[in-house]
Amino acid sequence: MTDNLKRILLEACVLIAFGALFGLTINNQLVLDAFAGRLIPQRPVGDMQEEPQEKVPLAYPMPILLDEVQQLMTEGGLLVDARSAELFEAAHIEGAISLPLVDLDDHMADFTRRIHKDQVIVTYCSGFGCPDSFDLGMRLIETGYSDVRVFEGGYPEWRDAGLAVAGEGQ
């Protein structure tokens, strides 16, 4: 390898290291929260004094993995299916209850009456790329639920892992 090529590679490494370090410096709290497993507070966008009508959520629902979902279920966590009622009836994770995001306004009052605000809730939908579980989690946090998490792998990951499912199609 020529000295010139070595120098270019070294400078490329410095460039990458500098960019990464700069990013870490700016986003250090976000990364620390992610590694510590804490809820990640959303940074307010703009001056709230000037835009009082803009609604800023207190927190994001925490994404969790399959083994964490199983652990939470044994500790009394509640799985909430954000998909449509038809999909829920066809097949869902055993023990989950349905709260379709598309009909949320019709079902939310009944849900809040039945489920205490301190209940640990895990929302899910049709896997990665499906935003409904995250959106439902946001709505539940806005409603006052204090511990809401999202199982991003959703029904497909649960089913593919060979875990218990229920529904008419099973």
Binding site: L9, L15, G19, N27
Partner: protein, 158 residues
């Protein structure tokens, strides 16, 4: 190097620069949303998605700025080529696993979804641009070095 080659070099350089400055800048605007896109690839553990989202856009932006300013061009090309290669491997893995996700290549907070196949084709185009810019830059540098040698030899002869 002919004038056409000189113009072509700057065209390739500027296209790459603008693509990466834009890609980095829009992701920096919403790091959390970009972390969600990285998570959708299902390659990294949960927290690592945030680490990548917190650092990668800044490297993209910095490499783009260096290309735009026409300084440290070849190190910037190595960084851009390396990142694009990693993106391509990730996209191929998405295609092989049959995941239907948005590539998250640019604006993570909005815009139209771009499939992994389209993103892969775009990355191939970017790699071609990286290669062209590298070759043309090398020719430009070689020519400058030759000119300097001739000037030095001329000065010595006097």
């Amino acid at each position: 190097m002919s004038r056409v080659e000189w113009l072509f070099y700057h065209l390739c350089r500027l296209i790459l620069a603008l693509v990466f400055v834009y890609a980095g800048a829009v992701k920096i605007q919403d790091v959390v949303a970009f972390a969600g896109h990285v998570a959708a690839y299902q390659i990294l553990p949960y927290a690592m998605n945030y680490l990548v989202a917190a650092t990668l856009p800044y490297v993209e932006f910095l490499a783009g700025v260096l290309l735009l300013l026409n300084i440290r061009v070849r190190p910037a090309l190595v960084a851009i080529g390396g990142m694009t290669l990693v993106f391509m491997v990730a996209l191929v893995s998405v295609l092989l696993r049959g995941l239907d996700i948005d590539c998250g290549c640019f604006d993570p907070a909005g815009g139209e979804d771009v499939s992994a196949g389209i993103a892969l084709l775009r990355d191939v185009g970017l790699m071609v641009l990286v290669g062209l810019t590298w070759v043309l830059r090398s020719r430009l540098t070689t020519r400058s070095a030759k000119c300097e040698t001739r000037v030095e030899e001329g000065l010595k002869a006097r």
